[in-house]
Subunit: 243 residues, 2 copies
DNA sequence: CGTTGTGTTGATATTAATCAACAAGTGTGG
DNA sequence: CCACACTTGTTGATTAATATCAACACAACG
């Protein structure tokens, strides 16, 4: 299975094909190595060109995916072009589960990425044969749902300042999926435009707000795409509206 | 099983205990009558006092629920009291599925309601024994997720006018769960305050916007809690930002 | 018959969007 | 190597949408 020995993220790290059985998900303990091996057997590793929508809203939901390298933006569009990013799918994330026969959103890579593709009928058969897999996907769907609820609170009731602070704090916890501590220094793989479309703001407001958090010494921005959290406690208070 | 013969909605209708095996979900065909009967065996029918939060954010997630009568509001709070309603759970809706060991949101009835309660360990055992049940819950979680994504688009990118129009259109399709056509005349079980907290607006803006849609003859409001859609095509265009 | 809760409407304030200019990088070709 | 265009991000001035503050209408209820 060549995709189990490929390279992801920093050169030299062994690729972690989360869906097909690698460490990221075996660590979570919800799925046996045996089942993961079976899943790997039907996985089709695929390289996604940047800006190619490998999931398109409204098209037949023929497959299910796992992100094996890179980050995808998941988004919905209005007819006039307004865009809402509903989430970012980082390495390890499952994608494209649907009840309806068409996708409810689109997904494309931010920069180069790799995914494992599972055809729906084969996945269905596999789930029927190995219920632990379905259990794992139910857990994934539930945690997506929890994230979506948190995002609805952000979009519906938080100020621009609270949204940006929440975003920075959440991003710093991103590697937590691998049971690591939240990082105080990390990279943002997405552009200001993506951040704006995720937070329901404009790029200008995102930029201004980050600048203000920097001038207040809550964060530092050594480069536009790199964040250092300088005062996590205060930043978290801002994110919760308690500041 | 006394809750299978009780009354819900309009007096005279036989109660449809969606979780415990009644028609609403058997119609959907995803779960066998046999499995539904097994589910019914562990269901604890419960009457919920109005405004009693039967699910409280942050508390141990000990149970899972199905709404058997009435409508619940699902919500999250910020420390200063700002509230976001993340969804309404009408009769038939499943509630409280969680990966974490605490609930991520709160739920309470809008007016009187009844629910069926399932303790988590018993549900877990039942799901292990009857995978069709897990499949059904995965479907439920996926459709909640689709609704959440649609709501994120609404909250992040739609204007007040588009939000209110979207809400009215979505509510008119609510009985669709039972495979009925969208209604042009229906009741709103929730207050203006609930609508505002769901749409990320204030009560005043909701009221003003409904008034304007009425003055434009897109809808009629015979009573504050009853809506008649007078021009569905136009209303849908407004909801999509195409008007 | 007043009181209370809910919804509506009006006047004003505030936040974030829009419009606009500019700065810093990146890549291309001369 | 440098001039140029092009992209991305930042900052400033103004506008527009919705929140806030306030008054009032109406029904339900004691």
């Amino acid at each position: 299975m060549q995709h189990h020995s490929a390279v992801v993220g920093r050169p030299g790290d062994p690729e972690t094909c989360a869906a097909c059985g690698a460490r990221a998900h075996s660590v979570c303990g919800a799925i046996s190595n045996q089942d993961l091996a079976r899943l790997a057997a039907i996985a089709v590793p695929t390289v996604v060109e940047p800006h190619h929508a490998f999931i398109a809203e409204g098209e037949p939901a023929e497959a299910f995916f796992n992100v094996t390298a890179g980050t995808a933006r998941l988004f919905k569009l209005l007819p006039d072009g307004r865009q809402q990013i509903t989430g970012f799918a980082d390495t390890g994330h499952f994608l494209g589960l649907a009840v309806s026969d068409t996708y409810a959103f689109s997904a494309e890579g931010i920069g180069p990425m790799r995914i494992c593709r599972f055809s729906r009928p084969r996945l269905r058969r596999l789930m029927d044969d190995f219920p632990a897999l379905e259990q794992r996907l139910l857990q994934a769907a539930c945690s997506d749902l929890v994230a979506a609820q948190e995002q609805m609170l952000l979009l519906g009731r938080k100020t621009a300042r609270e949204r940006v602070a929440s975003f920075v704090v959440a991003r710093s916890r991103q590697p937590m999926a691998c049971r690591r501590a939240p990082l105080d220094r990390f990279d943002l793989p997405m552009s200001r435009s993506d951040i704006a479309d995720y937070l329901g703001l404009t790029i200008e407001t995102v930029s201004r707000t980050l600048s203000r958090l920097r001038s207040e010494r809550l964060i530092a921005l050594p480069r536009p795409d790199q964040v250092i959290i300088q005062n996590r406690a205060s930043l978290e208070r801002v994110a919760e509206g308690t500041a």
